[in-house]
Symmetry: C2
Subunit: 474 residues, 2 copies
Amino acid sequence: MMLTDSTAAQVRAACAAAATAAPVYAHLPVSQRAALLRALADALLAARAALVPLADRETHLGTARLNGELDRTVFQLRGFAIQIEAGAAQPLLDEPAVAGTPPQGRPRLTRIAMPVGPVAMFAASNFPFAFSVLGGDTASALAAGCPVVVKAHPGHPGLSRAVFDLAAACLAELMLPEGVLQLVQGAGIDVGVALVRDPDIEAVAFTGSLRGGQALWREANARPRPIPFYGELGSVNPVVALPAALQADGPTLAATLAASITLGCGQFCTSPGVVIVRDDEPGQDFVRQLAEGLAAATPHAMLHAGIRAGFNAGVARLHGHAAVKTLLAAPAGGDTPGAHLFATDAASFIADEALREEVFGPACLVVTVKDLDETLAVLAAVQGSLTVTLWGADAGTADNRRLAAAAQRIAGRVLFGGVPTGVAVTAAQQHGGPWPSSTQPFTTSVGHAAMERFLRPVALQDAPGWLIDARGQA
Amino acid sequence: MMLTDSTAAQVRAACAAAATAAPVYAHLPVSQRAALLRALADALLAARAALVPLADRETHLGTARLNGELDRTVFQLRGFAIQIEAGAAQPLLDEPAVAGTPPQGRPRLTRIAMPVGPVAMFAASNFPFAFSVLGGDTASALAAGCPVVVKAHPGHPGLSRAVFDLAAACLAELMLPEGVLQLVQGAGIDVGVALVRDPDIEAVAFTGSLRGGQALWREANARPRPIPFYGELGSVNPVVALPAALQADGPTLAATLAASITLGCGQFCTSPGVVIVRDDEPGQDFVRQLAEGLAAATPHAMLHAGIRAGFNAGVARLHGHAAVKTLLAAPAGGDTPGAHLFATDAASFIADEALREEVFGPACLVVTVKDLDETLAVLAAVQGSLTVTLWGADAGTADNRRLAAAAQRIAGRVLFGGVPTGVAVTAAQQHGGPWPSSTQPFTTSVGHAAMERFLRPVALQDAPGWLIDARGQA
């Protein structure tokens, strides 16, 4: 499919339509919003046979993964429908007046939340369903009562258009304004910049690279009236493999980690990019097993040529680094990239920022440490990550307490088993960590709390009954 | 008292001490944090006889107001102690594992929140107790488990030092690290910039001017690792006086509004700076009564010469504006500023950004409107405000619904009676609205939710019992 960039006038028109739809959509009964989310889920399911092959042609992710991702997208849409039917989009804290002088005395205050308005949503390349046109960002914004202008990812333009057409049909069927969901597209940065700058846009949700995300985040802050920019950017997702874990289960863990690193050709924001092991024999055995597992893996082709070029550049940077040993490499040509494994020591990792940059794809950097203190120093150097995984920290020792604290300090999710790839969509999830993994680490882009990004708190003082009742019933 | 600027080395040392204290303080049992907050409250109360006259000499706010503000500060400190004793600093959402394949199947996830680390707090000039060394920002950060480095306001250096000395004594008495609370000072912007840039600072709380706040917000975003900047900046706090209210109670409302505009010499972030009235006889009567009320008011001296100069410049700007009529003025000299009242029409207000800028002090701009649509257009032009007050919108008419929606769109608090000055410290409060009134309008700087600014969510996956139990019991 040919990708035609939206013109500036088309971007403007999409945002204007979203702004016109915003008050209408925000004031709909929640049951109608839930009906829309369910209709979108049903439409995706009904079109599975057409959508999955189309997605596979455009992304090379394989039909098994893409079928699973479609299921996840449906699950998310229905999950938010259930959430808002239960009242999650209409928090209400009503405090009666208290007689007397302040600070004890006070008027009646009712704390509610209101939809922030039109949201610009930047679709991701690596989740053509779950973080794209009808993905989690769109679902959470629609659930919150906000229209969405989607910037389609140029990596899957045909799928984006097909899914958008389904959604437009749902809106028409339910007699909702077209402006509730709009689609714009552009291969370069211009369309995205125009979208973020548009005065009718009230918040931005972005999943993508650190470079692109940072540029758009700056645009959001440079507006005459800056707006929230919820960016989910790069992350190296350190895995700490402690001696206790390797002793108990080294070979299995090596195989599990190799599978996680190469899953989806390493194209996950939660892909483990750094593994921290002790400089001892069990550690070196584990690294050898990991290299064997990676050598045996057969990653599929990457999403598109640009991502492949970025991966090649990333592994070349490590390959040529004086403090880095290449344990496993593959030729830069060929249809599929092949897995890569590198190794360095703690001091080099801490000294050079370049070693801490995410390499998006099936590559991993082993960091060898002498002891707990070096492990803590390596984690601190990472600064911000979506996840940290701790293997072998189950016992409540003083060392493990320090390690758990250090992991929580830099990550949004800390795992004590398993691998970071795979992000459950549930109330307790937190997908967002300190910079650079997120621009707003107090919010999450996966799970029920994702809706809070689009609901701004308002305190009503001495509000008339009709206003509060309207909130309760809507 | 002479103000000596902190040196760069002193700022660095304060931040380093805060970083060293951070993990210790974060892991204290909550009962000990609560004990600190209560001890700080008790120390303020015990020192009232010395502190209030000192504050009055430095701020001219009067002992009645300052005694009330000290009470409010004590109330806030104790309020956060009560909150954290009830568990508010340790939210915990524990979801058991669900068997099966994703998306339904999932690991055990436990959502907690962790103290973000050292907070830089910029004290305000206009609340020498309640938004200063031991004010709401400090109280909420300490409650959340974060050390605080206070940048004292140069407008009340003696009071800042005296209150800090009390706090340092409390820390020593409770055998807590000095780094839990530090004080730096500086008359210019350099010390503040150094503080925001310091790598050990994890979040910033700021109350002050749009210009100063915006400059520091840019510094926070320009760091290699940007951090949250919670800024509470300028706000014009529109009051909409509808015909229904003026008919019922015009003269009383005029007197109430005049008192609110001149309260504390107009030096409140919630001071009503814009009044929207209909272009009819009751509207003009109300404006006349308001002018009379303001003329009779006797505001005290302003906080300091810089604020007075800013006020003089602001009223001069309005006074010389072609589309503005001066209804009440006072000479620019003299010890106290005198109240000012100006008037313009809706079209001029909407056309010229300069008319929508906050004038900090006892000044108000009447905006005359023809009808509801013009009222809505004037509110939309304001864009962001801490508050909007609607008088006469009690009936559940279509017009009032539109007005209430428009007010909620631009404000953090919407009042249906009374005046915006006076901000209750309670769970339902929201003190923070869209830009430019706040840099982070999804958060509040007053009320119980203020603590959430310093508690970052973390999801623990398959966490061992000792870690989750430690959260529950702490």
